[in-house]
């Protein structure tokens, strides 16, 4: 009894203190820290910086909102797209008890390495860009969630779509990270189901410069399509060197090359390249226009890139949850697990048992006149232009 009355007295005191302070013009909000981890340096840093800016945008907008209960501070860490650095960055964010939750990782190779760390420290995270299925499906950790889709959906669509266009034979070049290997695996499986044939598979390291030997071999095999499972930097190299060697197969990419940096890198050679990505293009998302407008208003140095909207959505989901549950990791984790039918700028977010958002929407892209264009809107779909080797 005594304790209850003490609590009551405390609560009473607190209420008075609160009302007293809120009657002032400046209402001091509690500070809450949230984290962001992504590649800010290295070859794919464009995507990381776009994601960072987008997450930062979510925090800024929330801090401007007079209705927000807390004042948020964004803790940013660079994972350099390297698993070991990622583990350190994750430890740093997760070990800081003031950080309530975080939006984490663009690189699959890093995300899969850090899930254990988040679990160990009990930090709820929402993955904003990595697509390897095992990040959510390879464990039972309640801390890990993901707003973007996985590469399984991507490759199902890709294999079927490409077969429907009439292509028969493929050569695969993939980087040997989990990202590239995963794409190789899921694409090969799905292609077999759809009756396509893979003539050869080449694993290459993620920093390889010269692909002429591999591509000359591919030229010998003369496949209809070269499937490339990897990220922007080596994608650009492979495309440029195909041209050097006179390889005229179609270049087909994955979500890893859907970036403005790829178009800039490939230049004219980008025309007619196809790639697949989960979700819709930013401008076509339910809240895409709003997002792009706000993003433009903050005058960031770099564009949000393909996954910026996901980073924004992930961070917003975290902030919403904290607003509702208070800055407590366990409560936030439980609330995130139960996320169902939540509106966001990337569409509805619903997490399954593994914390995976169940959007199955995959968008097909083709580069037309120096822009990633949705296939259905392109002149390639209308038959006005033709892809390489299209019958």
């Amino acid at each position: 009894m005594k304790r209850v009355s003490l609590l009551a007295a405390l609560a009473f005191g607190a209420t008075i203190a609160l009302s007293a302070s809120s009657s002032d013009t400046v209402f001091a909000k509690d500070k809450v820290k949230v984290g962001f981890v992504g590649p800010l340096t290295g070859g794919v840093s464009a995507n990381g910086i776009g994601g960072r800016n987008s997450a930062d945008l979510a925090v800024r907008l929330r801090n401007k909102d007079p209705k927000a209960k807390y004042e948020y501070e964004l803790i940013v860490q660079d994972d350099e797209c390297k698993p070991n650095i990622g583990v350190q960055a994750a430890t740093k964010v997760a070990a800081d008890k003031k950080v309530v939750a975080a939006a984490t990782h663009y690189c699959s190779a890093v995300a899969i390495a850090t899930v254990d760390t988040y679990h160990k420290f009990g930090l709820p995270v929402v993955v904003w860009g990595a697509v390897l299925p095992a990040i959510t499906y390879g464990n039972d950790y309640k801390e890990v969630h993901r707003v973007n889709g996985t590469m399984i959906n991507q490759n199902q669509t890709a294999a079927k779509f490409m077969r429907d266009l009439g292509y028969k034979t493929w050569a695969v070049i993939h980087d040997t990270t989990d990202y590239g290997k995963g794409h190789n695996k899921f694409f090969s499986e799905n292609l077999k189901k759809n009756g396509g044939e893979i003539l050869a598979t080449f694993g290459v390291t993620a920093d390889q410069q010269d692909f002429t030997a591999e591509l000359t071999k591919i030229k010998e095999l003369n496949p209809d399509v070269i499937y490339f499972g990897g990220l922007t930097p080596i994608g650009v190299r492979v495309r440029a060197q195909m041209d050097k060697l006179g390889v005229d197969s179609l270049f087909q990419g994955t979500s890893g090359i859907v970036s403005d940096a790829f178009i800039k890198g490939a230049g004219d050679l980008g025309e007619g390249i196809v790639a697949f990505r989960e979700g819709a293009p930013t401008a076509k998302l339910p809240g895409g226009k709003f997002f792009l407008e706000k993003y433009g208003a903050e005058k960031y140095d770099n564009p949000p890139e393909a996954y910026g909207a996901f980073a924004f959505a992930a961070m917003n989901l975290i902030l919403d949850t904290i607003e509702k549950e208070g800055p407590d990791r366990k409560k936030v984790r439980a609330a995130l697990n139960g996320t169902k039918g939540r509106d966001s700028i990337v569409g509805e977010i619903s997490f399954d048992d593994h914390g995976q958002n169940t959007v199955a929407l995959i968008t097909k892209y083709v580069i037309q006149d120096g822009k990633w264009t949705v296939w259905e809107d392109s002149e390639y779909a209308s038959g006005k232009r033709k892809l390489a080797r299209q019958k």
Partner: protein, 388 residues
């Protein structure tokens, strides 16, 4: 050194005060978060070193400590324990401390190789990696006890390093450098393309477990909860002390004398009947053994090994620590490692610029203090003998 003229051993008080100040300084540096405070502290530290070296206090304290080396050792161990104790709950700072200590351990090995024997090794990170991967494979697939796994990491690094023995022994100078550089590049590519060892993804390393005590659990003593990193830090500290004692003993013994002789002039050393091959092999293998042990421990602490941790650039960082510290001086290693690991981590404001500034700093250092931070002192030939 003019103060060497003094007959009476220097008093210990300035050294003790200096140690206490250093401990407080390190704690402060690790503790502060705001960038202005970090920069302020760094400036204060630099000024303090300049001021004390100008006034001669630094030299006197240093001399007092070299006279009473066992006291110096105790002070350092005490200091390490105080710092660990202070940050007992702070996971990240403790992780940083383990990194520092493991780098010291690895650079002790490198120091043995080219500080004493003059054998170049640009594949330090590769041997570090071999230790880590050994721990990952043995820890996950065999019931080998963890203490043995740590040793196995060292043994594997020495064994694989012995493949390079023939070219390393036959070549010299820059030609020898290329052997280890080629190995470092080869090793990383090999790990990346090799599926059995996890490819570029790397492998998980199970945490350490000793006598039923799981190292990955936080320590709870009554109401006191310590970070699980404290477990590792204690073990690493013990290993480090053992390795340190070993390297110091070697340096002081006739083995060290032989190594010095062959580093300074191989031809002359051969003329005096020294077996060059034997000593080079010893230094190379023993060095790799220490690096491998550090790698195995590091794998267990981080819980993860991946090829990107063991690149040529990482080997270069290890080499630069040895040079920065002052080739052949074990205390220099400790100082240089602390600088290389802690400062970039604390200077988050310069996040993207940290490598640039670090490299520029080392360049300035080499231009203006080419012998390193703490050059190796002149050898004392007899116990108790002092240069007069």
């Amino acid at each position: 050194m003019n103060s060497g003229e003094k007959q009476t051993p220097a008093t210990l008080w300035p050294a003790l005060a200096g140690t206490a100040l250093t401990i407080v300084y390190v704690i402060l540096l690790l503790k502060v978060e705001s960038q202005t405070e970090v920069i302020g502290l760094l400036v204060v530290g630099a000024l303090a070193i300049l001021a004390t070296s100008w006034s001669g206090h630094l030299a006197r304290a240093g001399q007092a400590l070299t006279h009473h080396e066992s006291i110096l050792h105790l002070l350092v161990i005490f200091g390490a324990l105080v710092i660990i104790g202070f940050f007992r709950e702070d996971h990240f700072t403790l992780l940083l401390l383990t990194t520092v200590m493991l780098y010291v351990l690895a650079t002790l090995g490198l120091n043995l190789q080219f500080g004493y024997a003059g054998v170049l090794n640009f594949a330090g990170a590769s041997f570090f990696g071999i230790g880590g991967y050994t721990a990952a494979v043995l820890g996950a697939h065999t019931p080998v006890p963890d203490l043995l796994i740590i040793l196995a990491g060292g043994v594997m690094a020495a064994l694989i390093g012995s493949i390079l023995l023939l070219p390393v022994l036959r070549t010299r100078g820059h030609y020898a450098a290329v052997v280890t550089i080629a190995f470092a590049l080869l090793f990383k590519v090999f790990l990346e393309v090799n599926d059995i060892l996890g490819g570029p993804q790397g492998l998980q390393v199970p945490g350490m477990e000793m006598f039923g005590w799981k190292f990955n659990n936080n320590i709870e003593i009554g109401a006191l909860e310590l970070s699980f990193y404290v477990n590792y830090l204690i073990v690493i500290l013990l290993v480090l002390i053992a390795a340190f004692a070993l390297v110091r003993r070697l340096e002081r013994s006739w083995v060290g004398l032989n190594l010095d002789a062959l580093r300074l002039d191989e031809t002359a050393a051969t003329c005096f009947g020294l077996n060059i091959v034997r000593w080079k092999v010893t230094a190379f293998l023993l060095g790799n053994f220490l690096i491998g042990i550090a790698g195995a421990l590091s794998g267990m602490v981080i819980g993860f090994v991946a090829p990107t941790s063991f690149t040529f650039a990482d080997s270069l960082i290890l080499v630069s620590i040895v040079l920065l510290g002052g080739i052949g001086n074990v205390w220099g290693l400790v100082l240089a490692t602390a600088i290389v690991v802690i400062i970039p981590e604390k200077l988050q404001a310069i996040q993207e610029y940290r490598f640039l500034l670090y490299a520029a700093m080392v360049m300035l250092m080499l231009l203006f203090r080419p012998e390193g931070l703490l050059p190796r002192p002149v050898r004392h030939y007899f116990p108790g003998w002092r240069p007069k």
